[in-house]
Assembly symmetry: C2
Homo-oligomer: 335 residues x 2
């Protein structure tokens, strides 16, 4: 059984999309799982009132009078919005009352609050975000696509360990193949940090394939074979992710315009380009479970994010990540 | 009139594609322009023998017994292959016998030989490569997509100046809009080098729009309007370029598979995705003209690369670049 705290106020379509998504999730999940709806009780009750057959025994409403806005600065949230659904929802875990937190709200605030409240695994300055990139083959996990810019070689190694655990526990890929994103496949190609990270990865015990290039991502493979996880700093990862999110629809629009094909027909046939199907991704490196959903999440995306939360808890990914990172640092308690 | 030296031995399809491309170019260009075919005379003559009506008065064959292989290390070429078509072709410019050099050969060797023989403009450690990215709007010039990794803020500023001159002289875009690639549009977002470069660009006198994100590239615009030039370090630029080159055909293949549309129909309707149409790009920052063509160049790509060389010479882009870069360094002779 897992107790999932949902930021009922988070995201562009909250609280209706969050409440709807929670109820859809409960209908699909094993009855042992419960959801904590965190936010303004009146708003949440209004959302629930639009449904019949609400499973009240599996729902807990947790009052939080404040709401984090998308424009709030992460640092200001920690100082000034302690009564927000974001902060209260995360604190449920440190109080032992919940197993995971899910939000489609302000990502920067969620990263900051999760790091502060739950704490970080050793060797990390900030948590990392892993994103699944659709490819011609199996999806590839790319990290960091978040806020870690100017990464040290040791941080890149940590991302590889975190990504490996994610691929094993959530994607079901044993002994996943790791690639290090660079400007050439030879070990000596790349920036200073990437060249040093290559050497650390060679000695890491991970299933490290070597450097991979930008062209390998859409194929899901380099010339040496399929890749499961691609490691890069958060600057490159963020640029690539935002580029990919826009280039796919742009090319499809160009194709539609040129060919006259029905765009709906294309999207129906390419479910891997449907962002809602993933729903959310766990923030990696925090001592707990914090699932980040897109701000535009609809009820389906929220439902899927809750599913990701349940699988993250059940697979004990956080414990596995702590053990893996300790391989770089001797002991998980060493710093 | 321009005298264009062509590396007749460079590229996967040389010397036939190079000789054919040269003759196609001569047929289209103003009769004042001439081409120097640099390479093994016997091979070049064999290529010419397959044509009738060869304009011998506009062709000069320059013997070069050696050939640079695609696998040769750039440093080894400068030391060991001084009699190659690559080195001899570039040296024609320093001897005042030619106005531009075009090659589809080993890009790393061309960059190294061009830098060494022609010299670099002040403030640059290496030349930069600018690539035109097709977008939903006008193509956007992205630089550096070459070999400059770990760039200083000053180098990023130099790329902006070089890109502005390129956009003015070769793309006909007066006072081009410059964007700095980062992970957020706010000035304070990005890596340490990017944040410092933002400040340099704000004070540069260039038409600087501010930071742009990965999502703005396929659109050719940020929320603040269209962009002509996007500046980034050569690591990010190289990853993005190789990603883009592969993701477009991958998505088109997925669409074709899903929709049953004829792929030829799509490619005919999307000429901006035809790599041969650009043909080549001038290496930026060298004191001369060196046009880089793709190793896979066919005769059409070579013809277009020669056209780029002529326009680069006629527009006096190199002189303009030297003047622009001197704005950062007081005088072009200051180092």
């Amino acid at each position: 059984m897992a107790r999932i705290a949902l930021d009922a106020m988070g995201g562009d379509h909250a609280p209706q999309a969050t409440v709807d998504g929670a109820l859809h999730a409960l209908a699909e999940l094993d009855p042992s799982h419960t959801i904590q709806l965190v936010g303004r009780t009146a708003d949440i009750e209004a959302g629930l009132a639009r449904h019949t057959n609400v499973p009240r025994d599996r729902i807990e409403i947790i009052e939080a009078p404040d709401v984090v806005a998308m424009t709030d600065k992460p640092s200001a949230v920690l100082r000034g919005k302690k009564q927000s659904s974001m902060v209260i929802g995360i604190e449920l875990q440190s109080a032992g009352r919940s197993d995971a937190f899910v939000s489609a709200g302000n990502t920067g605030a969620q990263m900051a609050a999760s790091s502060r409240v739950l704490g970080l695994l050793p060797g990390l300055e900030r948590p990392a975000i892993a994103t699944l990139f659709p490819t011609a083959g199996k999806p590839v996990l790319v990290l960091d696509s978040g806020a870690n810019v100017d990464c040290s070689p040791e941080e890149l190694l940590s991302f590889a360990r975190l990504g490996a655990v994610y691929a094993e526990d959530l994607l079901g890929r044993p002994n996943p193949v790791i690639g290090l994103l660079s400007v050439g496949e030879e070990d000596e190609k790349g920036s200073a940090a990437v060249k040093a990270a290559n050497q650390l990865l060679r000695a890491s015990g991970l299933n490290f394939q070597g450097n991979v290039e930008g062209r390998d991502l859409p194929r899901g493979a380099s010339d040496r074979g399929p890749i499961d996880v691609v490691v890069c700093d958060g600057f490159v990862g963020n640029v690539l992710l935002k580029f990919y999110e826009t280039v796919a629809p742009t090319i499809i629009r160009m194709v539609v315009k040129a060919s006259g094909v029905d765009p709906e027909q294309i999207l129906r046939a390419l479910p891997q380009l449907d962002a809602d199907s993933a729903g959310g991704a766990p923030l990696l490196g925090v001592k707990g479970v914090s699932i980040i959903s897109h701000g535009k999440s609809n009820a389906k995306a929220i439902k899927n994010a809750i599913g990701v939360a349940v699988r993250t808890v059940e697979s004990q990914m956080t414990e596995h990540a702590a053990r893996r990172l300790s391989e770089s640092f001797g002991s998980a308690e060493s710093r």
